[in-house]
């Protein structure tokens, strides 16, 4: 059974990203909390890949009327009923939280007297985030064939084939799938490649009235490892946002037809970023996209699922991974949980890559194709806050040196932030000064007149 060329659909996905609520994590704890919607119109797709076996989970943050929801995906073959599933929406949320860019806090120790420091952590994580006979008759008149029809969860799913795009688009529009103008060419292209269309609508009778719709999952085998995004660009007003969480047993996943770029990471930023981490992440992403002329795929996380440091959320459990389609955990008996194993994250042979794409038809004309690589280097989007020690800077020589370092460190933080986000450096410095992070806030004369020359300090004989 082959199923290929799944597509980020016309109405697939409207995810929001905010800061998470405080929660305990094994190497720190979250401090920030916000409900800001960072990325509107975002789709989230989890891809599990092993050899030619693939499981795709497509989540949408659709909050409108369920009757208005529709999903249209080109596929190569007609999937069987057993290949389609609906998943718990919490799965993708958890995956999203686990892989989200994170903010780490450090507290400087007393330069005169070493003390323990505390590390805290914040993260930017997405929040929760009929008459069949008549239908078939109409379809036939328009050159559309209903290859299969399934009821899965709250969805009615049809697999359609068609002779030409006009007929298919007319039929879809007549049946409540609002296909935007200009889709003919893309639909026509997929049809000429011999593809079918997987279309899903919510059956209101089976919908439990919940505010969200569950992600649709499809399991298939194909040599192509790709994600069709072209239909999504047809109706898009502006750019589309897409998060891909790729899970393999081998290593990092990269796009083969677009440049994959690491989001800049591990940089010190001013303390005030803690209160506006959402804006920081959003503007940083926009700025980095701009720097790449909109033509890059950003890697935000690449990590062995067995652990994390610092953790934005606990790694996914075996059962969660299995629900997401990780099919190799029970194979070969290697990954069975051991009796008496310590609580907490269990080692699993899963490497996760989080890719973030902002695209439109101009910058991303072609569907995304991926490859699994053997690269297991861990990478995370991590930004560091360093709380200065506040005390008497005249207490000891080290404290005076520390005060000196502090000022240049703050300059560096402002420069980092300006470079990352494109924000105005002068404004950043003003904001830092208002918060007490400037030379003026340090009650020490930093002029070199009372400072010993460096050579006097060099051998301790000054």
């Amino acid at each position: 059974m082959k199923l290929r060329h799944l597509l980020g659909a016309a109405t697939l996905g409207l995810a929001s990203l905010g800061l998470s609520a405080p929660a305990n994590a094994f190497c720190g704890f979250f401090v920030a909390k916000a409900d800001t919607d960072l990325f509107n119109d975002a789709s989230k797709v989890a891809l599990v890949r092993d050899g030619e076996r693939t499981v795709i989970t497509m989540a949408s943050d659709y909050r409108g009327e369920p009757s208005e929801f529709a999903m249209v995906i080109p596929v190569v073959d007609v999937p069987e009923r057993e290949q389609i599933n609906v998943a718990n929406p919490g799965l993708i949320e958890h995956l999203d939280e686990y892989t989200a860019p994170r903010l780490v806090e450090y507290h400087d120790e007393d330069p005169c007297n070493r003390i323990q420091y505390r590390e805290t952590l914040a993260m930017a994580a997405p929040q929760a985030g009929a008459a069949m006979d008549a239908m078939a008759e109409e379809a036939e008149e328009l050159g559309v064939t209903i290859e299969a029809e399934y009821e899965v969860g709250e969805y009615d799913i049809l697999i359609l084939s068609a002779e030409e795009s006009d007929g298919l688009i007319t039929w879809l529009n007549q049946n409540g799938y609002r296909i935007p103008d200009g889709a003919e060419e893309v639909v026509g292209s997929y049809l000429k490649q011999g593809m079918k269309f997987f279309v899903a609508k919510v059956n209101l009778e089976r919908h439990d009235g919940a505010g969200f719709l569950r992600p649709i999952q499809v399991a298939y085998e194909d040599e192509d490892f790709m994600l069709p995004i072209r239909l999504g660009t047809v109706n898009a007003e502006g750019k589309q946002e897409l998060f891909i969480f790729a899970m393999t047993r081998k290593g990092r996943v990269e796009t083969t037809n677009y440049k994959t770029v690491k989001l800049p990471s591990n940089m010190d930023v001013p303390i005030f970023v803690k209160d506006e981490f959402g804006d920081f992440y959003k503007d940083m992403f926009a700025h980095q996209v701009e720097k790449e002329n909109g033509k890059a795929v950003f890697m935000e996380y690449a990590w062995d699922m067995s652990w994390c440091d610092p953790c934005a959320a606990e790694p996914l459990s075996r059962s969660e991974l299995q629900e997401l389609g990780v099919m190799w955990l029970d194979e070969g008996g290697q990954d069975q949980p051991q009796p008496g194993f310590r609580p907490g994250p269990q080692p699993v042979d899963v490497f996760v890559t989080r890719l973030h794409v902002r695209y439109d038809a101009k910058t991303f004309p072609q569907d995304l194709t991926f490859q699994v690589t053997g690269d297991r280097d861990n990478y995370q989007g991590r930004y560091v806050l360093r709380h200065p020690w506040r005390g008497d800077f005249n207490k000891c020589e080290e404290a005076r040196d520390y005060a000196d370092e502090l000022v240049s460190r703050w300059d560096q933080e402002a420069e980092n932030l300006a470079k990352l986000t494109g924000w105005d450096e002068a404004e950043i410095k003003e904001k830092m000064a208002a918060g007490g992070y400037s030379e003026a806030a340090i009650n020490i004369d930093l002029e070199p007149k009372d400072k010993k020359p460096w050579w006097q300090r060099l051998w301790g004989n000054g």
Binding site: E185, K192, K250, T256, N257, K259, N293, A361, P365, G374
Partner: protein
């Protein structure tokens, strides 16, 4: 110049003997003495572009590893077949390997270098090696190590790519106009297939243009398929060969999604070369001072830059 004159009497002395124009001409002549110099320069430029503009690009460590492997194999094989040691072709192979190949461990570039150069000496037909060393090195490593070795065709940005095409084209024109036929034969056929397919599907032309914007394709077109030793002697043969490699590459990409598609296609079709040479015979390159082994076999590929430059010759890995 003033500043350096104050601190560098030697430099002033050198400049005193010749004016800047002469110096430039002298430099160009020195580079032009061997066509491989242009290729080494161009590949070094591409290597630096890859190092400085990509997160998942070439790394000096990988180059060093490939270089060690290729040079060791070249030295050992030269000793075995009693021929002169030639470092330039092995250096070109090392640069191509580090630009194109990605792997999990540094020793894998070493292995690819050894395999590539080793097969250059081991697999020969009528004193021509069958496979391009960098190409076969990568292909063998991909086949043996699976996902631990890969090629990242998408990792070049737009601007570096344009610069890369310019540099590569310039190097090819300067090194051997004779090889333009196969480069254009390949890229022309490949582009025609992609544009033709887009027209048939009703796709925007942005798609084939995007598909052609690949760093792997660039290095492949200018530094691999143009290898005079693993490609046919006659122009007709070369064009047939180029068209076949382009078609197989396109099919690999559109159809079964074979990774490292152009390299796989070239490696698979390299065995055609002896047959094409047989059915479409032509004079072998005009040799410069070819290095001959005892049995009269040569192990390097050398051809004049232009027919008039007696001293210049082209050699490929």
């Amino acid at each position: 110049m003033q500043t350096s004159a104050q601190f560098s009497p030697l430099f002033v002395y050198c400049l005193a003997g010749m004016d800047v124009r002469d110096a430039t001409i002298g430099l160009v002549r020195a580079v032009n003495r061997d066509a491989r110099h242009w290729q080494l320069l161009a590949l070094s430029g591409l290597f630096l572009i890859s190092v400085y503009t990509t997160d998942f690009g070439a790394r000096p460590m990988h180059l060093l590893s490939a270089f060690t492997g290729a040079m060791s194999a070249q030295a050992l094989a030269s000793l075995l077949v009693k021929t002169r040691f030639e470092w330039k072709s092995a250096a070109i192979t090392s640069l191509s390997l580090s630009i194109l190949m990605r792997a999990v461990d540094p020793w894998m570039w070493f292995a690819a270098g050894v395999i590539g150069i080793g097969l250059k000496f081991a697999v020969r037909y009528r004193s021509k090696h069958v496979f391009n060393p960098a190409c076969i090195g990568i292909v063998v490593m991909c086949l043996v190590f699976g996902r631990d070795v890969w090629v990242s065709p998408g990792q070049w940005g737009q601007a570096p790519l344009i610069a890369g095409w310019a540099v590569a084209l310039a190097a090819l024109v300067l090194s051997s106009a004779k090889r333009l036929d196969i480069a254009f034969g390949f890229i022309g056929t490949f582009a025609a297939i992609l544009f033709g397919r887009a027209l048939w599907l009703g796709d925007p032309m942005a798609i084939p243009i995007h598909q052609l914007s690949s760093g792997t394709l660039l290095v492949f077109t200018f530094f691999m398929i143009t290898d005079p030793r693993s490609t046919p002697d006659s122009r007709a043969g070369r064009l047939v060969f180029a068209a076949c490699v382009a078609s197989l590459t396109a099919w690999f990409i559109i159809g079964p999604n074979v990774r490292a598609a152009p390299l796989m296609a070239l490696a698979a079709l390299s065995v055609m070369t002896p047959f094409l040479d047989r059915f479409l015979p032509a004079n072998r390159f005009q040799w410069g001072k070819a290095s001959m082994s005892k049995e009269g076999r040569d192990h390097e590929t050398q051809t004049p830059v232009g027919s008039r430059h007696a001293g210049a010759r082209l050699a490929r890995p």
